[in-house]
Symmetry: C2
Subunit: 377 residues, 2 copies
Amino acid sequence: MKSVLLGCGTVGKGVLEIMDAHPEYGRIAKVLVRNLKKHGDDPRMTDDPEAVFGTENLELVIECMGGLEPAHTYVKRALEAGCHVVTSNKKMLAAYYEELQDLAEKNGCLIRYEACVGGGIPWIHELIRLQRIDEVTAFRGIINGTTNYILSGMTDNNTSFEEALSGAQEAGYAEADPTDDIDGYDARFKVALSAAAGFGVLPAAEEIPCYGIRHISAGDIVWAKEKGRTIKLIGSGKLYDDHVELSVLPVMLKNSSLLAGVASNLNGLSAVSTTLGTSFYIGQGAGRYPTAHAVVQDIIGIGEGERVTEHCYSMPVDNSALIGCWYVRTVHPEVFHDAAEIIDGETVVTREMPFHALQELLAQCNDPDLFLALIEA
Amino acid sequence: MKSVLLGCGTVGKGVLEIMDAHPEYGRIAKVLVRNLKKHGDDPRMTDDPEAVFGTENLELVIECMGGLEPAHTYVKRALEAGCHVVTSNKKMLAAYYEELQDLAEKNGCLIRYEACVGGGIPWIHELIRLQRIDEVTAFRGIINGTTNYILSGMTDNNTSFEEALSGAQEAGYAEADPTDDIDGYDARFKVALSAAAGFGVLPAAEEIPCYGIRHISAGDIVWAKEKGRTIKLIGSGKLYDDHVELSVLPVMLKNSSLLAGVASNLNGLSAVSTTLGTSFYIGQGAGRYPTAHAVVQDIIGIGEGERVTEHCYSMPVDNSALIGCWYVRTVHPEVFHDAAEIIDGETVVTREMPFHALQELLAQCNDPDLFLALIEA
């Protein structure tokens, strides 16, 4: 299969290396890069998109640019030209999923995105494979390696959030602007794509409630430890008859929970399905070669004609069955007076209550530095 | 695809149910059972193998009988007739792997065995899929649900081995004759099949050193707990240039190890491969529907023409690089005098030493009730 590669950064370079080592899966004919000087003398490198899209008999466009534009425009162009697309760009795909899948269907081509969720985990593949037999009814997991690295660092080394974030940035696990990771947006894109692959339901990412870890303190970690718990940022989804429950939330897991043991920058994801029950997958969430591996698996899958049925329906996101006790740290604990089991200084543990009732109290609180976590039952 | 099913016990009945619910994957035309009276009035049931093998246009034989014979003879007959085979019978397959794969190749058909290892884990599938890109260089895990259930019971409830075994038998997780499970033979079959699928190396099961948990005591569990460790029966494999390292051994895992958190009857398996790094899979190790799911995935895979390349080479099993400190409980601790770091009553912790040197001491010991475990470094 003749292909071109858009973007030759961390992931793209890995894809190029793996594909060059496996000519049996086809040849990358051109590589679109931003800065030609950075990429040696490989004659396939170009900074001219017209040269890339003008490749004769082009069948596949591999998009590893990241960001919304021009990635979105290029992917559209590829699909309109009847080319299959493999992308590692979860942000772009979550934003334009419906448009791009429609376009792919109309043009008889596929858009595959294994690398978008849990890079080193065959997650999207397994969600789709399960559905050959089962209905996938739920998923849950640590879906963002950066926050896992930060939280593991805070837990193991008793450091502050700021120190742990700096450490993650130095180690290359967090970007200079860490907003997408620490505010949970990256996890939200991945929850949306997991719902698409697992439930066949297409949520708008903005409809998924999303709380991050930007305001977590060393004290929150200590509180959790004393209770035999570990804090992780958890993305989860449940399929109901006429709606889906989807969220991204910090959760105080019991230490005996499998997810609590998924440390460092790893991702860990579980799926529940009709006959297989709960199956659980752990691996590298990112990194050049694991993510590139996922991209190349998609390329091979397209080449081998792997069946992928992806009929996505619209269904409302409704978290009314999301009920639990909540840990809240706020300068306005008094707001929780009637809803609290415990109020100790700035720390509140609520009685069991629905998420939407909690949200009303959070709005009353109006505390920009508030940290909240679901306490796993 | 027209198929017949051999055996309609726990797994077979699950396969029949799932296939009947999914006619798009073909129809099971006949079911061979031992006792017709047990199986209601389904006209497909028969106790006559000739009626089964006489099915017109038969393409696939699904073997869920268990045991060596007549399963082996029937599978051979199927392959000789040019039928694909899907089997859940690890004992039979590990014993006759080479013969049956050769026969399959000669007759242009496939023999698939996803259900044989980690029923509810897409383990064989992932080992094979990884090799589209990577070399699999190692695997390791909890590969036997019965012993995991027993060890978890002993650890959680401070019970003796005998009590925990009875509990496992009552709960349906151990058979009346538990030998294959508790002496590690079942794990050994699965290590052999994992080596075949992951390394393309075919070991004779008897060459794989295998120690079980028959002689574990409540005191061994207490010792491990005090050291912050959890005992699991671990199967593992490593690929070298000219040999493979394979073993089934009780291991004292650190509690922080992911495998230590894989409790109850679950299985947990990790693979190491070139670009994906370490990926980890946890799920039900057995049970009607998870195992039947695995069988049906193989059936679908054959129907869809999934590529499976299985070139198995013979390579010696050589554990000379398997080095560690060993926990040994024996009535003859004096044998370990020169090799021990600690001797405390009947409990010995050896200095770091190769497995083959340990084996010489074990032979000198000649203690039929000895328990040994590798202490994870």
